[in-house]
């Protein structure tokens, strides 16, 4: 069965992109299968794990719950766009240095979600971090080192800003 494809124009990691997608394809599929950006992961495809988290017009979303066609005109930031000019983002560095990943499958989603939080709130409480990240399942770490990594990244980012 062929489905008529739609041309979608969007900005992904600060670059303009155009792609053709079927109406039934999710943004996650478009990123992974059409644009080759496989950093966002599919853990459930129904909005319950956050492994597919990307930032859409400044807000973290589950890319599996957004249709590709809905991305028209949007600005999207994925895990591939977080590091700049060969240097890791402080959030990435904090996860790496805090041993906040084991299998690493949830990590791209967690890092994108963490960046979205710290971009808005430089000094979140532990409770606030736990609430914000409750959308992102991690089965390996028990979250302890993840929460500490977020706190560490927040501190570092505050120092840089100060």
């Amino acid at each position: 069965m062929t489905h008529r494809k739609t041309l979608v124009r969007a900005t992904v990691n600060q670059e303009s992109v155009e792609f053709l997608c079927e109406p039934r394809q999710s943004l996650l599929e478009c990123l992974r299968d059409i644009l080759g950006l496989t950093g966002a992961k599919e853990g459930c495809n129904d909005g319950n794990c956050g492994a597919c988290t990307v930032i859409l017009d400044g807000r973290p979303v589950n890319a599996c719950l957004v249709l590709g066609v809905e991305a028209e005109g949007c600005e999207i930031e994925t895990i591939e766009g977080i590091a700049r000019a060969g240097a890791l983002h402080p959030v990435q560095r904090a996860y790496l240095e805090s041993a906040a990943l084991q299998c690493g499958f949830c990590t791209p989603g967690l890092i994108v979600a963490t960046k979205a939080l710290l971009d808005q709130e430089p000094n979140p409480s532990e409770e606030r971090i736990r609430m914000w990240l409750a959308n992102n399942l991690c089965r390996c770490t028990g979250y302890d080192k993840v929460i500490r990594a977020v706190q560490r990244a927040a501190e570092e980012m505050r120092e840089v800003r100060a």
Partner: protein
């Protein structure tokens, strides 16, 4: 080497593969692409138990974009054999039957047919056009259902094995075994107090975030190439070759990064199916499971029905123990009840023990390993009874456990005598931890403790180390890296070679490039593959000594090596300087290590849990949690802590929320993460850790595997805490709000409001 001399072991260098994992660059199972690749979809049974009368694939085959359709008729009918599937063996007919159902479907989700098409959507649409005629049969979903007289027979050819002998009796009990130590009957008569309780636990899933994914190419030369996410490339190779009736040489498996396994990615589900689709279509085929497929079509861990009876004297000595353990195997035998029986009383030195284990098939997915498989269920039961006895005797629960703790020389009922173990040290660390003594104020709060054991395995591992001219080394091993083992293995090589961790570049080999290596499981990788790396490093040192001897025109035996420097007769040369001269002294140096240790030291683990129970809703909140574990020697303490924290939280999920909620017809009603509630960050406190180090006497650095024992105590610790908070003991997992409320209401309605001492005293 004494502890103080370690430069690398015990430090916390960053992971070698961490950058790829924080940038999204690491390639997991579903990230792999090949030119011309097709996408597969598996059609699964809507019934828990049904005979297949007919399958008509013609409409699916005719659907535009479809390139191949397969059913069990496409699988070769090879003769029966036992296939080693990593940490155990299974008859080929079961593995094949689970791959694609033949004459019957045995659980809802059982694979029936598969389609390869130009896109996953097209494959899924086409699969819905496959017509399957089923004769629906009555199903048995729990061990109690399946063991009942007149229960539906799930595997017509199954005959019960009893005490090691074939009985010829048909039924759903695959095996009944018994371990006996001393004289339990007599032991119970010596007791002043006997407590016997019955327990049930629900089926739970490992819950790895990455669904199973594989890409297979059946090449025109007859070679089958597999790229997949699994816990062991060699196990995938063996099982795939067996199902396809090919020599192992014709199958090559490249392990991709794996997004969690916890025992659930040892078995294969997809590879032979994708291979058949590739053979028919002439193109590579990728199959990625949906989350629902993962819940319904892969192996969760067994639900159980257990009875535990323990007797103790007033002075606190346990005199006898008896266990009845019946575990749900799912559709095929292999319920992990044997390891459950090895662990059920392993923390205690008990003179008189009887353990009966039953491996029972039911109409649920064929169960698989899950972190210390079989031990968590058993410990929930034992540790609840132990807690009850301690309370009845007026003894502190940790002291009572210490009075009876297993130690070097203690014999387990299943035979082995413990060598040096850390059970006492773990209990002492719990007793001495500030958490244990901290006041716990407020209503509806309670603190519980529990201990658990996992025996760990050794098994085969291979490693090679190649020396670079600048004195760095490349390390290749065969262990899929689930959690940082590239680094924990490299650190052992670095320590041996006098290098820094960052001077070692580790990679995980495919089945064509590295020697046989068993699965990443059984808490074995840092232990056994680390040992192989030490052997490879020693081989490098031996070869380099010869090179130094050549330069110095002396005898290799007179060359000594210590912390990166070779010395003989007053001369010395560093590892790096000598590495620069390999070309002139005979060429490259490649060290190899291949080990198969059999006597891995077991690991004990303990948990202290504080909970608060909401009397209005029955919700249990974990307020504080401390995990204690014997790591033998912590190579990378952060990763040891990570294992302890992750295992603890899986145990908390098992305790409080997780379960396969089944309809009477055998359908899982909660096959999404919205309804199968795994712990989120919001549900938990920080998880404190205490690493105890009682070195394994055999291992070069004293390592004990730490991947599993940590999941064993949490359900019992949480349950014991719930009891202290409410005065109500729960005998079933999960202790979700409904279960807690029912128990609270029942206590209220009982005469005397549910006295703590009930019928326990003998």
């Amino acid at each position: 080497m004494s502890e103080s001399t370690y430069a690398v072991v015990g430090t916390r260098p960053p992971r070698h593969d961490a950058t790829d994992k924080v940038t999204g660059r690491a390639h997991y199972g579903a990230d792999f692409q090949l030119t011309g690749m097709l996408h597969g979809f598996i059609l699964r049974s809507p019934h828990a138990h049904a005979a297949i009368r007919r399958i008509d694939v013609s409409k699916a085959e005719a659907f535009p974009g479809v390139k191949a359709v397969v059913t069990s008729a496409d699988l070769p009918e090879s003769p029966e054999q036992m296939v080693d599937i990593g940490e155990g063996a299974m008859p080929l007919s079961y593995i094949r039957g689970n791959m694609l159902a033949r004459s019957k479907v045995l659980y809802k989700g059982h694979a029936v047919a598969a389609v390869a098409a130009v896109s996953p959507h097209v494959a899924e649409e086409a699969a819905s056009l496959i017509e399957v005629d089923y004769d629906v049969l009555p199903c048995a979903l729990t061990v109690e259902d399946a063991m009942r007289d007149g229960a539906p027979v799930i595997l017509p050819d199954l005959r019960t094995k009893e005490f090691g002998e074939q009985t010829g009796r048909p039924g759903n009990v695959a095996e009944h075994f018994r371990h006996v130590l001393g004289d339990a009957e007599n032991g119970f008569t010596e007791a002043d107090l006997v407590v016997e309780r019955e327990f049930r636990t629900a089926t739970v899933h490992q819950g790895y975030i990455e669904p199973h994914a594989t890409t297979v190419l059946w090449n025109e030369d007859g070679h089958v190439l597999v790229w997949c996410s699994s816990q062991g490339a060699f196990t995938v190779r063996k099982a795939t070759a067996a199902v396809l009736d090919l020599p192992v040489l014709r199958v090559s498996v490249t392990p991709l990064e794996i997004g969690g396994g916890f025992g659930g990615k040892i078995r294969i589900y997809l590879e032979p199916v994708a291979a058949l689709l590739s053979k028919k279509s002439g193109r590579p085929v990728k199959i990625v499971m949906s989350r629902q497929d993962v819940f319904e079509g892969t192996g969760p861990t067994p639900g159980s029905h257990m009875r535990i009876k323990m007797g103790a004297r007033k002075d606190g000595r346990i005199t006898a123990a008896q266990a009845y353990l019946a575990y749900e195997a799912g559709a095929y035998p292999g319920a992990m009840v044997a390891p459950g029986a090895m662990c059920v009383f392993a923390a205690y030195d008990i003179p008189n023990v009887v353990i009966d284990g039953y491996d029972v098939v039911v109409n649920k997915p064929s169960t698989a390993a899950y972190r210390a498989p079989g031990a968590t269920q058993a410990a929930f039961a034992t540790e609840s009874v132990v807690d009850e006895i301690a309370e009845n005797l007026g003894l502190d629960p940790v002291e009572f456990r210490l009075m009876n703790a297993a130690k070097e020389g203690t014999r387990r009922a299943d035979g082995p005598k413990f060598r040096r173990i850390g059970c006492v040290e773990v209990l002492e660390a719990m007793r001495n931890h500030p958490h244990y003594r901290a006041p716990l104020e407020g209503p509806n709060r309670g603190r519980g403790v529990a201990v658990g054991f996992w025996f760990n395995v050794g098994l085969a591992s291979s490693c090679t180390i190649s020396v670079n001219s600048d004195g760095t080394v490349n390390l290749l091993d065969g262990s899929v890296d689930l959690s940082g083992t590239r680094t924990s293995v490299s650190m052992q090589a670095a320590e041996t070679l006098g290098l820094r961790a960052e001077d070692v570049r580790p990679s995980v080999g495919d089945t064509d490039s590295i020697g046989f290596t068993e699965v990443t499981g059984g808490s074995r990788t840092t232990y056994a593959t680390g040992w192989a790396a030490v052997e490879a490093a020693r081989d490098v040192i031996g070869q380099m000594k010869e090179r130094a001897a050549l330069l110095w025109e002396t005898d290799a035996a007179s060359v000594e090596f210590d912390r990166g420097v070779f010395r003989a007769g007053g001369r010395s040369i560093t590892f790096q300087e000598l590495a620069a001269q390999l070309d002139e002294t005979g060429g490259p140096v490649v060290g190899r290590g291949a080990v198969n240790p059999s006597g891995a030291g077991g690991s004990f683990s303990g948990a202290i849990a504080d909970v608060e129970v909401d009397p209005e809703t029955g919700k249990v909140s974990v307020l504080r949690f401390t995990a204690v574990q014997d790591a033998g020697r912590a190579i990378h303490p952060s990763y040891v802590e990570g294992q302890m924290q992750g295992g603890s939280v899986q145990g908390i999920g098992w305790a409080l929320n997780e379960e396969y909620f089944m309809s009477a017809e055998g359908a899982m009603l909660n096959s999404s993460w919205l309804d199968y509630r795994m712990p989120t960050s919001l549900d938990l406190p920080m998880i404190d850790t205490v690493i105890v180090e009682v070195p394994d006497p055999e291992h070069p650095f004293g390592v004990r595997g730490v991947g599993e024992a940590n999941i064993v105590p949490p359900p019992a610790a949480v349950s014991n805490a719930v009891y202290r908070a409410t005065g109500v003991r729960l005998y079933r997992l999960p202790m979700n709000p409904v279960a807690v409320m029912e128990a609270l209401w029942q206590k209220e309605s009982e005469p005397g409001g549910g006295s703590l001492h009930s019928d326990a005293a003998a």
